[in-house]
Amino acid sequence: MQAMEISRTGLDVEWRRLEVIAQNLANANSTQGVDGKPYQAMRLVSGPKADFGNYLSASSGPLGVAVYGVEPEGLPARSIYEPGNPNADAKGFVSYPGIDHAAEMTMMVKTERVYEANIVAMNAARQMYLKALELGKRS
């Protein structure tokens, strides 16, 4: 069951990652957020899951992956001259979030593939479990 549990953490993390990417794409044309600053493209940071016991002894085995946090990417905002825009500054410039569309799309495809790979791994674990149940079975 532990193999399936690991794959499930992978599914969770990729699901969250897709949510963050969807949020970035949905805000591609946002000129400013509620705080008045332009939207910042976000990136989900993930890493191997570990509990406190793991640091004390390496005997508990792999636990899968976990979300460490969602961090801003820090790309500079694009300034576009649009004097008619209500969010334009004194000189007529509007700040659009610096979202790299190609990078977002690439990340999205990667996320999808990793999600699929986790499902395949989970199915393999499930098959092995069911095969193990057949061991010694009569008829």
Binding site: M1, M4, R8, L11, D12, W15, I119, M122, R126, Y129, L130, L133, G136, K137, R138
Partner: protein
């Protein structure tokens, strides 16, 4: 969906009285009898089925729960049930094997 209480099933198979007299010295002193083990197993399976059931109900009202959580819980419940059925059929096989013994 809930399974009948395991305590009702296990004693009927007549497994409990076997241990004490013959193997008093060799029996593992874990304090956990075989029937207790079975009961725990059935209860764990029941818990998984209940969990999967409640998760499916929660998903029906609020589909912001990732879908794979629901399918995973259902699959896990099914695998546990499958394991329980296998254990049961081995036990019944063994019981029938003994009951067919010529004296």
């Amino acid at each position: 969906m809930s399974l009948p209480p395991a305590s009702a099933i296990v004693p009927a198979m007549g497994i409990t009285p076997v241990a004490p007299q013959a193997s008093a010295t060799t029996a593992a002193p874990t304090g956990l009898s075989f029937s207790q083990l079975l009961t725990n197993g059935v209860e764990a399976v029941d818990q998984r089925v209940v969990d999967a059931d409640s998760l499916a109900a929660a998903f029906a009202v609020n589909d912001s729960i990732p879908l794979h959580r629901v399918t995973y819980a259902l699959e896990q419940a099914r695998l546990s049930l499958e394991l329980m059925l296998q254990v049961r059929s081995r036990l019944v096989e063994a019981y029938q094997e003994v009951s067919r013994m010529q004296l």
